[in-house]
Amino acid sequence: MSFSELPHTADVRIRARSETLEGIFSDLTDALMQVMYGKFTAIRSETLVVKEVRVSGDDTASLLFNYLSEVLFLTEVGGIVFVRADVRVTGNKLHARLFGEVFDPARHSGGTEVKGISYSGLEVRNDANGYIAEIVFDV
């Protein structure tokens, strides 16, 4: 897991770094969960709920926006806190399997609601070490 929070006055700005593009999507899923539910220890894996996500986008930025917007929808409506995301990106299409646990107020109340994923400052780039993404969660 590799993400960090950057300064932002009103919202939450995250930078993720990964060797692969898929890693960026997976790390930002973790970041979104941490912002919403705080830091928590995942429960044993055999009880996890699995959700599938399929989205497409015009470019990597819109793919990321569409993917995280879908994750946000699933977590809020399903009451599921995702602990792992297996992501596959093929061209402008994405398929992810998300593994989560059922929301438990006793363990998942350390965060703040995310209202939406923002295009504000949304950037995905790559360098010699891999990929870097910056994104703002509107809270």
């Binding site: 929070e5 300064p7 932002h8 006055t9 009103a10 919202d11 939450v12 919403m36 539910y37 705080g38 819109s62 569409n66 917007s69 929808f73 809020e76 409506v77 009451g79 929301f103 107020p105 998942h108 109340s109 350390g110 965060g111 703040t112 609601e113 209202k115 939406g116 994923i117 923002s118 295009y119 504000s120 949304l122 703002v136 509107d138 809270v139």
Partner: protein
């Protein structure tokens, strides 16, 4: 001040055409020297970017609580020609009709002093925080009703008094609501959250009217010194957030379709009368209505608490007013000395209609609209009145609150939620929240001082101070 920004008066600043390429009108904002120190360059750039949008009238405006937002700066106001102009979710925000309402009780400060049970009971009565579920039995029909008729639907369903409606902006609902433009996903997010407060900066606060600046207006509004009030700050919850997300995607495409050149992708927009623009406006109005219904349901829960603990009937807890601070509306304004209908976007800004406006309650016609400005946790809130100055200068708009100056991560590092709660308790303010982070995120000093923000709008004449309210108890998500 930033290079290129011109001072036009003690509190008025202009961002001239050319500050960013493609500006059609200048930018204008209100700020004092004290607030200037914390002005972000990014926010001024956003203000200038808004001035490039097609059909913008007069100028791109920002209130003294200006800060870096999504698309528009927070505190941003812009009016658009109905034919040439555009509508943009970036000018409304994710939390459509995030707003504030104020209830007045017949209680005095002595009645609530030390009554932690009042705050505890409010915390029990109003679902609060991440993952909190509605106590309402909601189905698709109820949701449609909330989206079509807003606060009116809630009142007709028994959650309030008929008199509440005339004390809401738009009488509690926008007629332009189009539930067909609201996606299935938005509905799914809306059903479990009806009547919930949410988290972040949303709160329910018990306050005491500590100072009256304008006795005539205060009396007309129904406020007296020493009186206990209840302020509710929340919005359209996941439903509005999803509507924003859905329509940003649609409007991204329509920006290309209508060949609109944007300096910033977040300003995705469509001509107001286009199918895409109309769909967004209809869905936004439906979300705004849901938010009004939401605040109405929470009002009912709060009145029940007062009834149970203090034996006060609901009728003795009138609604002073309810304002929206994230919304786009079709309103009549005078532009170039002619009255015309325009589309006003207010993004973290409050309508502040002055005396004589037909859209304010008849009994307040000679006074102006009540304007409610929430403070941050532990700091005073203010009631102001709308003015003719606002009608002339800001399309009838004023500030919406304090505006953040410190990020949440900085806030958490600086001071713990526990310390803040203890410090507030020493000042006689009792806070209930689901966790410490919810308190430290919203600590008093992460915000601009609300008193300075309202001083600026008061002295600039775009609204006038009526009363100050100090908190005694807060519940937040």
């Amino acid at each position: 001040m930033l290079a290129g920004v011109v001072q036009k008066g003690e509190l008025e600043w202009e961002v001239p055409i050319g500050f960013v390429p493609g500006m059609r009108v200048p930018g204008k904002f209100y700020l004092s020297a004290r607030l200037e120190e914390i002005l972000e360059e990014g926010a001024v750039r956003q203000l200038a970017n808004v001035a490039t949008l097609p059909g913008i009238l007069c100028c791109s405006l920002a209130m003294p609580d200006i800060h870096w937002g999504y698309g528009f700066p927070i505190g941003g106001v812009a009016a658009f020609d109905l034919t040439e102009g555009v509508i943009s979710p970036g000018g409304v925000g994710f939390d459509i009709n995030c707003g504030v309402r104020l209830l007045a009780t017949p209680l005095g400060q002595r009645d609530v002093a030390g009554r932690r049970d009042l705050i505890d009971a409010m915390y029990q009565a109003v679902p609060t925080g991440v993952g909190a579920k509605s106590s309402l039995r909601m189905d698709a029909k109820t949701l449609d009703g909330m989206m079509m008729k807003g606060a009116r639907y809630a009142v007709e369903a028994g959650y309030g008094l008929p008199g509440d409606l005339v004390r809401c902006e738009e009488n509690g609902f926008m007629k332009a609501a189009d539930v067909k433009a609201v996606s299935g996903k938005a509905r799914q997010r809306g059903v479990p959250q009806g009547g919930t407060l949410g988290s972040g900066n949303h709160f329910l606060e018990i306050q005491v009217v500590r100072e009256i600046y304008d006795p005539e207006a205060a009396k007309a509004f129904g406020l007296a010194e020493g009186q206990v009030c209840c302020m509710i700050h929340c919005g359209s919850r996941g439903l509005g957030h999803q509507v924003c997300t859905d329509h940003i995607k649609i409007l991204e495409e329509s920006t290309r379709k209508y060949h609109i050149r944007l300096p910033d992708r977040q300003l995705a927009c469509a001509p107001i009368g286009s199918p895409e623009g109309t769909a967004y406006f209809g869905a936004m109005a439906a979300s705004a209505n849901y938010a009004w219904a939401n605040r109405q349901v929470i009002t009912h829960a709060a009145r029940n608490v007062f009834k149970k603990l203090f034996r006060i009937p609901h009728e003795e807890i009138p609604l002073i007013y309810d304002v929206a601070h994230n919304v786009a509306k079709i309103e009549e304004h005078t532009v170039d000395k002619k009255k015309r209908m325009v589309c006003v976007h207010r993004k973290g800004a409050t309508r502040a209609f002055g005396p004589g406006c037909p859209d304010i309650p008849a009994d307040l016609s000679s006074i102006g609209q009540p304007v409610i400005i929430p403070g941050s946790m532990g700091t005073p809130s203010f009631v102001l009145k709308g003015t003719r100055g606002a009608m002339e200068k800001t399309f009838g708009s004023t500030c919406h609150g304090a505006g953040r100056v410190m990020s949440r991560s900085q806030a958490k590092k600086k001071i713990s939620g526990k310390e803040i709660a203890e410090s507030l308790a020493r000042q006689g303010i009792y806070v209930r929240a689901p966790n410490e982070a919810a308190i430290s995120d919203e600590a008093p000093d992460v915000y601009k001082p609300s008193s300075e923000v309202v001083r600026v709008v008061h002295e600039a004449g775009i609204s006038r101070l009526v009363a100050r309210l100090d908190p005694v108890g807060v519940i937040k998500g």
